[in-house]
């Protein structure tokens, strides 16, 4: 009797510890099971989620991929999966956060038997730093234009073998041969979009057409935001002041700094993360914005409009890259080619609400997509294109960081 008491006494303590572990074991077992189940039905259920229609009259953009789906599932692997003998079992993929319909990855896995582990980054610099650190393990990386230039200048990339990417023929020549990668040696376009100005049309008597709505006479103090991005904010300030978007002179930056610091008191914040939801919920009525983001906000709030201000905006393009030390470059080529397939491209663009560089995609996009684009004012006309510039980044642009650190220091 004595003995049993003693043992249960100690066991009480042990039990507590074991109980902790047990529950986690259960949770983890549950995860494991789910892993097995998902692949089958994921594409169908996953796709609609992020672009759920906010109002009944807006046709769900997500219905579009449906027609392309059956062939994806049933077709022989042939053209879309490359050479099975050289294809790896798995691939590590580094992408922007929330920048692809994960159904695409599941489809690729099912169709070609390659499981894709996708990690996400929230800044180009983060991706560059990871690849730069060496042996990042990623075979495919997506970053924005200027980051391509930086990475190629640091010998971090390997040239793409266009022979393995027949779908390169589908790409819009306008989006090829960019300044950051002449001749597309290292990169191919994934999606592109612009940076401009988004606002709730009901908040303005006359919709704004200039950055003055933020920098000079902000009518929506406390209800407007700027991006948390040194280049976009200072660039906008610079063009508003009449300088070039990529201006690096100290004098221009001093002026721009003053302008931004003045504007700072009126905007609710420098925000690249929450403003989409804020625009949708009405927390913010005007915001410097990425084009695709305005479209996403539009899904929840059809009063959102997007403009490229008269002074100009930026055009930017995200790109496929293969790091020089990629573990499996061949599979990466196959995956790039796969994502350049028209049906896949459509899935991606439906999700991101960016612009597709793939000439075969536009006919496949849903009415819902076009409704969002036209409703928000995202159409990319030649007139607008003329006002767009590319962001350039080199050593002397470190002045942007210096100026920006003053903005950070200000409050």
């Amino acid at each position: 009797m004595t003995k049993s008491t003693r043992i249960s006494g100690t066991r009480g303590l042990l039990l507590r510890l074991l109980a902790v572990l047990a529950v986690f074991a259960v949770v983890s077992a549950a995860c494991g099971n789910d892993d097995d189940d998902t692949t089958a039905d994921a594409p169908a259920t996953q796709a609609p989620a992020p672009t759920e229609p906010p109002a009944p009259e807006a046709p769900a953009p997500t219905e579009a991929p449906a027609p392309t789906e059956p062939p994806a599932a049933d077709e022989p692997v042939s053209g879309r999966c490359g050479d099975p003998a050289r294809l790896g079992d798995s691939i590590n993929f580094l992408n922007w956060a929330d920048y692809i319909d994960v159904a695409v990855l599941d489809m690729f896995e099912e169709e070609c038997g390659v499981s894709v582990t996708m990690d996400t980054h929230v800044a180009n610099e983060e991706a560059v730093a990871k690849v730069d650190a060496g042996n990042s393990g990623y075979s495919l990386v997506i970053v924005t234009d200027y980051a391509v230039e930086i990475m190629s200048s640091q010998d971090l990339l390997q040239p793409l073998d266009m022979g393995e990417i027949p779908n390169v023929a589908n790409i819009d020549p306008n989006q090829m041969d960019p300044y950051y990668d002449p001749g597309n040696v290292y990169s191919l376009p994934y999606q592109y979009s612009t940076t401009g100005f988004a606002f709730d049309v009901t908040a303005f008597d006359t919709p704004p057409t200039s950055y003055s709505a933020i920098f000079d006479e902000n009518p929506l103090c406390g209800q407007s935001s700027l991006l948390e991005d040194q280049r976009e904010v200072l660039g906008a300030a610079l063009v508003y002041l009449g300088y070039d978007w990529n201006e690096t002179s100290q004098a221009a930056h001093d002026e721009a700094l003053e302008l931004v610091l003045d504007a700072r008191d009126c905007v609710t914040g420098f925000d690249s993360a929450n403003y989409i939801g804020n625009l949708a919920s009405g927390e913010v009525l005007a915001a410097q914005s990425w084009g695709f983001a305005a479209g996403i906000a539009y899904l929840d709030n059809p009063n959102i409009r997007y403009i490229i201000p008269d002074e100009g905006g930026t055009i930017w393009q995200d790109n496929f890259l293969i790091p020089a030390d990629a573990p499996d470059p061949y599979t990466a080529h196959v995956l790039i080619n796969y994502m350049l397939e028209p049906d896949i491209g459509a899935l991606i663009t439906e999700f991101t609400i960016g612009y597709t560089p793939n000439l075969l995609v536009p006919p496949l996009l849903s009415d819902g997509y076009y409704e969002v684009v036209s409703g928000t004012g995202l159409e990319l006309t030649d007139e607008i294109r003329d006002r767009l510039v590319w962001q350039v980044r080199s050593e002397e642009h470190s002045i942007f960081a210096d100026t920006w650190s003053q903005v950070i220091a200000a409050g």
């Binding site: 006494g9 949770v27 789910d34 989620a49 990042s136």
Partner: protein
């Protein structure tokens, strides 16, 4: 000066309500996220009706589940290692006399006082430097190179978890009667036996408290993890941070609610067991307090009024959270 004892009730009331306020402060955000996990609206803000859809969606959300599993896996492994290392450290620092003890102490508590972001950055620099050299040395190719990921995250987490465990365990070691261990040795137990049968059970509350703290810290760490993670090692905080670009998906609220529910159940269960144990080990009203006054017992020889007084300074009361401090 006249004595004044009015309002003895007043501070009590004030203390009670202030405490209630703190709990409200802690739980209102939790309540909000639980509520959102049942909200039909995808973007928060307005209530669009009750749904459990997000929980079924969660079952299909591989990314989120993988991230959750990664977080738990890393937290469990890190906590397990940290508990062992931290307890050993606290024993060494508290029970041994050696040259350089102060210096060792300062190193051990460095993670407690080192700014997180500096640590993250330093570790990134350190790992990218050493892993590169290591791969060169081992002649690893790009395919099978050693790279950042779960192991590096665990290395980092173990380091700071160890420090916190050492801190908490040392606190309970300090309140431990040193003659308890001597008694065991005196009765013929060697170092091992003494540790397993006497010291460890006695400091178990501290060890568990340290483990709890370590687990919490590891599970919720963002900054350091962010810098040292690698392919396939996305943890829940990192995944959620990525999602913030758009809006936190209701599935995140759902998994958070599940974690919240599970931990509540778990700890409540532990509490139940603990209360059963402590009830068995001591008289109903407390085994340590001054109010543990002796009840007349069927005592053959000597009866005495001093119960409780003698062991008061070394309570054996199994307190789950030993607190962070001597």
């Amino acid at each position: 000066m006249s004595r004044r004892h009015p309002g003895t009730r007043m501070p009590k009331l004030a203390i009670g309500s202030a405490s209630a306020l703190v709990y409200v402060f802690f739980y209102v955000p939790v309540a909000v996220l639980v509520l959102f996990s049942f909200n039909q609206a995808r973007t928060g803000g307005r209530w669009a009706g009750f749904t459990t859809d997000w929980y079924s969606a969660l079952a299909d959300n591989d990314r989120l589940l993988t991230a959750t599993w990664n977080s738990l896996f890393i937290a469990i492994i890190s906590t397990a290692i940290a508990v062992v290392l931290g307890t050993m450290l606290s024993l060494a620092l508290d029970r041994r006399v050696f040259r350089g003890r102060t210096a060792a102490q300062q190193v051990v508590y460095l993670p407690v006082i080192a700014p997180e972001i500096v640590t993250g950055v330093a570790l990134l620099a350190f790992f990218s430097l050493t892993l590169g050299r290591l791969n060169d040395m081992l002649g690893r190719s790009a395919q099978d190179a050693i790279r950042m990921g779960r192991p590096t995250i665990i290395i980092a987490h173990v380091a700071f978890c160890t420090a916190f465990v050492a801190l908490v365990v040392r606190a309970s070691l300090r309140t431990l009667d040193p003659s308890l261990e001597e008694a065991a040795q005196d009765l013929g137990a060697n170092g091992w036996t003494t540790f397993w049968r006497v010291t460890l059970p006695a400091i178990m509350p501290g060890v568990l408290g340290g483990a709890l703290l370590a687990f919490t810290l590891s599970l919720d760490n963002f900054v350091i993890t962010f810098f040292v993670s690698g392919p396939g090692a996305t943890t829940l905080p990192i995944e959620v941070f990525g999602q913030l670009r758009r809006t936190i998906s209701p599935e995140v609220n759902a998994i958070s609610t599940l974690i919240f529910g599970a931990s509540t159940l778990l700890l409540t269960g532990a509490l139940g067991i603990q209360s059963a144990v402590s009830r068995r080990r001591s008289r109903p009203d407390g085994d340590s307090g001054p109010d543990g006054a002796a009840v007349a017992r069927p005592d053959a020889g000597l009866r005495n009024p001093d119960a409780g007084a003698s062991h008061k300074s070394y309570p054996s009361n199994p307190q789950l959270i030993g607190g962070g401090k001597p």
